[in-house]
Symmetry: C2
Subunit: 380 residues, 2 copies
């Protein structure tokens, strides 16, 4: 590990699926010791749902199993909790309390714990106990209202788990800030991360733009001129992101559209967006005449914001991502500023539930025979 700023941090993660595990994966990637606590038996449901993703998210952690519904299991949990700097959990609100591992219970055994709860809508409020998935948070956060076709109503367009990852990132930021806060105070910290609010936080810049423009309808607010995805002759796609006026002039020159460059009705970003139904078809037709390579070369040289569209089949071949070793030799980076990688996920090799029980529990002071006995009793 080349860079491990968190190597003195000990994290206990009881969460499953995506938001909590992505957060603690990042903590581990930066050097933290992350102990993944799984329920004895089946473990994290992600193991079965998306096996390769489970490896990606958890491959850099320690694995212990605990049956929290057994007294000995709970005692064992509290024993590790005593040692932890951070606990992450993603149960439905109320469950942690029922299990006896909520913030109030933990701070009795560990009075300087940083306890992070990640839930769909937060620990309080009328939606607290309504189940949810990414799509529900996307709707609540305002994202759908400004997504998709500007001439249609709200749409669900998103190709990735944008809300879950929002919750994950705000959990991560909050935990890291709280760890920094240890320099100031050792008081316990409770972090109540709502996934829907996290995404709403990312909508704020767009919201303030909306207010600044006098609350326009979607067609006017989200319509875009020379800022889009265009298909080339060889059936590939490129993106053109012309916002500034000088880029517009550069683009028109390359495309041979000098009349558009000179048109005073198209002389600003807002004017070009307003006139999108006139100019987008023209640009579309022009781009379709040559191959992607041709346009990437010419537009780059002319200083126009342009890039190829990658998909999961070809992104490893992209010259920029390759040069930056984003995918170093069949491996996968977990963090932009870190060289650490995991092995090729085409070979899935899920660590067993409880793989590191012996190591972690004996580190706590249990004798090996005690660990064996807990195992026999189903407590771990």
């Amino acid at each position: 590990m080349s860079y491990a700023p968190l190597k003195d941090v000990y994290v206990l993660d009881c969460s499953t699926l995506l938001p909590g595990p992505y957060c603690s994966m990042m903590l581990a990637e930066m050097g933290a010791t992350v102990v993944k606590v799984e329920r004895a038996g089946a473990g994290d449901t992600m193991r079965a749902v998306i096996p390769g993703c489970f490896d990606y998210l958890n491959g850099n952690k320690k694995f212990v199993s605990i049956n929290l519904k057994q007294k000995q299991g709970l005692d064992t949990f509290l024993r590790i909790a005593k040692k932890a700097d951070v606990i992450v959990e993603g149960f439905r609100p109320g469950i942690a309390k029922r299990l006896g591992i909520d913030f109030d219970s933990i701070k009795k055994v560990n009075p300087s714990i940083i306890y992070c709860s990640i839930s769909g809508h937060g620990q309080t409020g009328p939606y607290a106990n309504i189940p949810g998935h990414d799509i529900n948070y996307q709707g609540l956060s305002g994202l759908m209202g400004v997504s998709g076709d500007p001439d249609k109503g709200p749409e669900f367009p998103d190709g990735f788990q944008v809300a879950d990852l929002g919750g994950s990132m705000f959990a991560l930021v909050s935990i890291l800030a709280a760890l920094n806060g240890r320099n100031i105070s050792k008081d316990p910290v409770f972090l109540d991360i709502a996934i829907s609010e996290s995404l709403a936080m990312w909508m704020m810049p767009r919201y303030f733009e909306y207010l600044g423009h006098g609350r326009p309808p979607k067609s006017k607010f989200m319509g875009r001129g020379p800022y889009g995805i265009f298909e080339t002759k060889d059936n590939k796609y490129i993106t053109i992101g012309v916002v500034e006026d000088h880029f517009w002039v550069n683009l028109c020159k390359v495309l041979g559209l000098d009349d558009l460059a000179a048109d005073p009705d198209l002389s600003s970003w807002h004017k070009r967006n307003f006139e999108r139904k006139r100019i987008v078809p023209t640009i579309t037709a022009a781009i379709k005449k040559e191959n992607a390579e041709h346009w990437l070369d010419l537009l780059t040289k002319a200083d126009v914001p342009v890039a190829p569209v990658c998909d999961f089949e070809n992104w490893m071949d992209n010259p920029q991502l390759s040069d930056r070793k984003f995918f170093p030799k069949d491996k996968y980076r977990r963090f932009p500023v870190n060289e650490l990688t995991i092995d090729n996920p085409d070979e899935i090799k899920q660590p067993a539930v409880g793989k590191d029980n012996m190591e972690i529990y004996t580190d706590l002071g249990l004798a090996a025979s005690e660990v064996e006995s807990l195992k026999k009793e189903g407590a771990i």
Copy 2:
């Protein structure tokens, strides 16, 4: 300020527009002193482009102006840089060096600086100097290839600056981790944040799902069954996020579609996605028969993942966001775990470029007369 874990952190932010300022806004929100360095005269271009957004992003910072092209301006910058824990910059790669404020220059005056560069494609590689906007990064990161209509090619759907905010969040995480790392080493840290790579980091869970499913085509990979946005009788929209089988049974019961619940061809998430062209129209027609309130009530009681779709006009009225005080009385939260707010942005009140020059520069040890003289000479 109720919670300020970063109150001993001093940040110098020379970036403009969205990615850097959003990152440093978060640092300020958690207690850091953030000094926003603007070029003397016009300042951050965001002031003119989206005035209200400028206020939101920067309202909790100190404002100084500096003309980095003048020797005295540069000297003044280096003088504050000496005091800073963190520097954030978002120039095109190469510009900071030309100005004399790159990492190598700064670490000579401040050997424990955390220096964060945010750029479109990173500081190195063949794309380093190609201009870019959010759309270009979305294309490069693989997002477009899995977005929009599953039966069409790559689409640009996103209603917000998902890539810029990705860069912002990874910069924030990297800075916070580096600050924690000060407990281990005081060596200077250079953080090379690429916006396109940050978004690609968020695509990883989807990518591993893609690999795990044997690299399916978009239509098969991204098609969704009872997981979508549906219009109600009163022309509102709700989201239904049924992934798990028991939620599917619950949904069918409420909609009176007992035949679907019993259909063995629809008994798993994957089967339901495969059969989307059969079941989505049925659900769409059912939901259209009653108002949003009706469905939200019934589906919530039946334990189905459901939520209303909010837009920027009505999200303040949402019962959950209201109860959680996401928008406390015409104010706007900047951070999910913090109560801090700013005033109503409908009243834009941009602080002047250089508003805090006197305070910040006299804190450095300059006499008031020296600050006046720098101003007269155009250095600040």
